[in-house]
Symmetry: C2
């Protein structure tokens, strides 16, 4: 039998906790035999929630008691330091102590990012762990790397993002020889801000990635690249504009459909097909965003995540572990770190 992958799920994180995380855990272990889940959170609440379910493999579900809850609005660094018995800190510590392989949370993004770096720790050679969500495109998904909390990256960070992103897309998402591009304000090589201009030639030299050059923001939704490399401030703008523009357009379309008697009748007929279409372009539909480059795996799911998104994130963790992604990342980043060390001397 295959190795059992242990995933900690934050039972207290997100808008629909503990219901959705608990449901996700139960569904995940029912669906796949190679997973064991640890639910981190307030024991009484989790147990009460689990009472809803009868028929699941109880031997592959544990509870890691954690009395505190980190709220979304709390300053992350302070929360991680102060709330030692929170589900996020307890869960991340399980990964740190190798008692679990991965941690999945819909809770405070800031706390998960800070906690991931501080508690689980960066893997050797990794300068900065990027947060890398999958965003929908015309013909699939692309990995947007980095959307994390640490802005103003250096060129060497971006090179590492490119490598980690390529490994993730190849091994976890299953895209062969993924196309890597850097976000730029023009397609020509001479375009760019200081960071991009400095990073571009480094990416061209980087072995083992399929670097295709610059990508303009216009071409991101068309799916011109599989790995979209950018600094976190820019990544944040892209990710949030995706959400905001999608929401605004859907609202506009609904208004449009209700604007005339004729369109109202048509609206009834197109509604189901349109709903399906919009779903395929909804950034929130694509499971979690991994925080890459740590000693374990940490996956952040949306605050509004339903059980299915959390379950998909759990499955991502299994793929991640089975494909030995961390080992592969370590292998590819080591030489760079060594190079940098020798440069600094």
């Amino acid at each position: 039998m295959a190795e059992l992958i242990k995933v900690v799920v934050d039972a207290m994180g997100g808008d629909y906790a503990p219901q959705e995380p608990v449901k996700a855990a139960v569904d995940a272990i029912k669906e796949r035999k190679d997973i064991s889940v640890i639910l981190a959170g307030q024991e009484d609440k989790i147990k009460k929630e689990l009472e809803k379910y009868q028929d699941y493999p109880k031997d592959r579900l544990q509870i890691a008691p954690a009395s505190e809850v980190i709220e979304t609005a709390e300053p992350p660094v302070f929360a991680i330091r102060k709330k030692k018995d929170s589900s996020i800190v307890v869960g991340l510590n399980l990964v740190k102590r190798k008692e679990a392989d991965a941690f999945v949370s819909s809770g405070s993004t800031g706390a998960v990012l800070v906690g991931g770096q501080v508690l689980v720790g960066r893997a050797k050679g990794v300068e900065r762990p990027p947060l890398a969500p999958l965003i929908p495109t015309m013909d699939g998904v692309s990995l947007l790397i980095d959307c994390g909390a640490n802005v103003d990256a250096r060129p060497s960070h971006l090179v590492q993002f490119a490598k980690m992103g390529a490994i993730y897309m190849e091994e976890v998402v299953g895209i062969k020889n993924p196309r890597v591009a850097i976000v730029n304000n023009g397609a020509e090589e001479e375009k760019g801000n200081a960071l991009v201009k400095e990073t571009f030639p480094l990416l061209k030299q980087t072995e083992g990635i399929n670097f295709i050059g610059s990508i303009e923001a216009r071409d991101i939704p068309a799916g011109y690249a599989d790995v979209i490399v950018c600094e976190a401030f820019v990544g944040n703008v892209i990710l949030k504009l995706y959400e905001g523009l999608g929401t605004a357009l859907i609202k506009k379309i609904k208004e449009g459909l209700m604007s005339t008697a004729r369109s109202k009748i048509g609206a009834l007929l197109v509604k189901p097909a349109l709903k399906e279409t919009m779903k395929s372009f909804d950034a929130t539909e694509y499971g979690g965003a991994p925080l890459l480059g740590l000693k374990g795996l940490v996956v952040k799911t949306h605050g509004s995540a339903a059980a299915v998104e959390i379950k998909n994130a759990i499955f991502q963790c299994v793929q991640f572990k089975q494909q030995k992604v961390n080992e592969k990342i370590a292998e590819h980043l080591q030489p760079l770190a060594a190079q940098e060390d020798s440069h600094e001397k």
Copy 2:
């Protein structure tokens, strides 16, 4: 009678030149008596195009002959220096020599930006002239400032962008006390990259603008602010993602509408209403983007601009001139420049 405003139109610029620029010129002077247009470009082509029109006030239309054409792909600085007899250089020189009030072009963005700065020149006190397109929102338009060619701005540039943008929205677009916000990766004041963190307190102190704080990219399409201040690289990402995501979503929706027999019938009924809706959210529908802070006005319209967009840009120029926007910008920026000078000493 009101003062006659003279606008130079680049007859050779854009995908549909000279047809659309010439039509725009003719339509503009037919529609308003306070405008005179100079068409810059190859005389024979312009004259041939003008033969299509009979009934227009010929006394308010001149031709400024220019034998050369700057192509979109040419390196801007080189093109401006080399092609002295191009429609862009000839047109901008007319503004420089005060023989015209404004220049409108659908040609090479780079050449228009470089030429505007080099030939027309920055107004006194302006550190960097921003390119500021209007983008559609749920309930109108917002000014995205800066989307220009010069990236990596300094905080003092962003403060000037805020002031110029506020004046433009108030005087030209007619929004009273426009809300000014800075693009950030979070709503809290402590968020931001180095540039935003340094700029935020300066904007708070800036008198005469209605600064409402940070805006996340998610909230831009909802229309939370009238003036969206950002550095040009970020502005470029926002503008182009707007275009790209809009195009992708419309394509997806069309696919969705054609996916079932039921939806196909509905599609026929909703099509006119939907078309109208999408048009209201199309970034290309909102006339030109002014290059602010110059000694004259330079407006860049889309490469794919039809006559109606160019005509609207011509009307913008009139409003700009009549509201004495340049004088107001000079008035508001002067004190800052003086301050900076004294700091530097």
